[in-house]
Symmetry: C2
Subunit: 136 residues, 2 copies
DNA sequence: AAATTAGTCCACAAAGTTTGTGGAGTATTC
DNA sequence: GAATACTCCACAAACTTTGTGGACTAATTT
């Protein structure tokens, strides 16, 4: 399961995608519309900014906005950033790989199956972008 | 990611599947061979027994063994049992469903995408069994 | 029947993660 | 320089994970 933080991040990014043409959006507006605790959302958006997904402007007329065009930001990128590995086990992860201590990966049934699961998931989340998060 | 507990459970079940014809297997043997903390493994196996996946026998010649034939036990069942939901978000889960508070499921982009991810994952784990966990 | 073997059960504890909150500071605009 | 809005850091409560310890029960062997 994705953490609440991740779910909040997706809701917020969906909202910013909707409002992409409208310039900076207040944190407080996102928090209210998407029912996200304000201060928690602050942390999340700041993290997304540091990861180059968002940018912000201070002072009057300020707020957060997408740094890149929403169709250029993959859902997979956001998951890895906010939630961590997409794979079910570390020895199968592409971005968070860790060697398995108690099995030989070449001959491990679990390894093989989890690789399939990973690829099935990636085939979706690597091909969806922030645009796919918007309500319709 | 699956918890360590889940990974231990899979390792143990894979081992019991290998040794399916050999009668009861000692917890201590599984723990040693699969490098799982003994007492932690006790808890896991007991849980699997209560869920009717395993059975056990006490005293000399005792140990744990699969209650059903390994090809009859789906991987999906084990994940749900030991790890919890397979879906990435609760409002998309079949077995652990929870309503989403801040979106209309019929018009939510996230909901739609996560349904696809769920189905892609299920198409694998609902069609694999303990047999697929065995090393080869 | 006693000893040995091996699972059962319960409680607890250390560590880590998640989910926040509070408050002072900084940049920008008017 | 006042108001606005993001920034940064620290901390805390709650929960989950990952175990451990010890007494108990059931089955077998001698």
């Amino acid at each position: 399961m994705l953490s609440k933080k991740s779910q909040y991040a997706f809701k917020a990014l969906g909202y910013l995608t909707e409002k992409y043409t409208e310039g900076p959006i207040l944190i407080s507006e996102i928090a209210k519309k998407k029912k996200i605790p304000l201060k928690f959302l602050e942390n999340i958006l700041l993290e997304l900014k540091k990861a180059d997904i968002l940018d912000s402007k201070k002072g009057k007329g300020g707020g957060y906005f997408l740094k890149k065009s929403p169709e250029k930001v993959k859902v997979a990128t956001i998951i890895r950033l906010v939630n961590g590995p997409i794979s079910m086990i570390p020895c199968v992860s592409l971005y968070f790989y860790e060697r398995c201590k108690n099995c030989n990966e070449k001959h491990c049934g679990l390894h093989e199956m989890m690789t399939e699961v990973r690829d099935a998931t990636l085939s979706i989340v690597e091909n969806r972008t922030l645009v796919d998060l918007v309500d319709y």
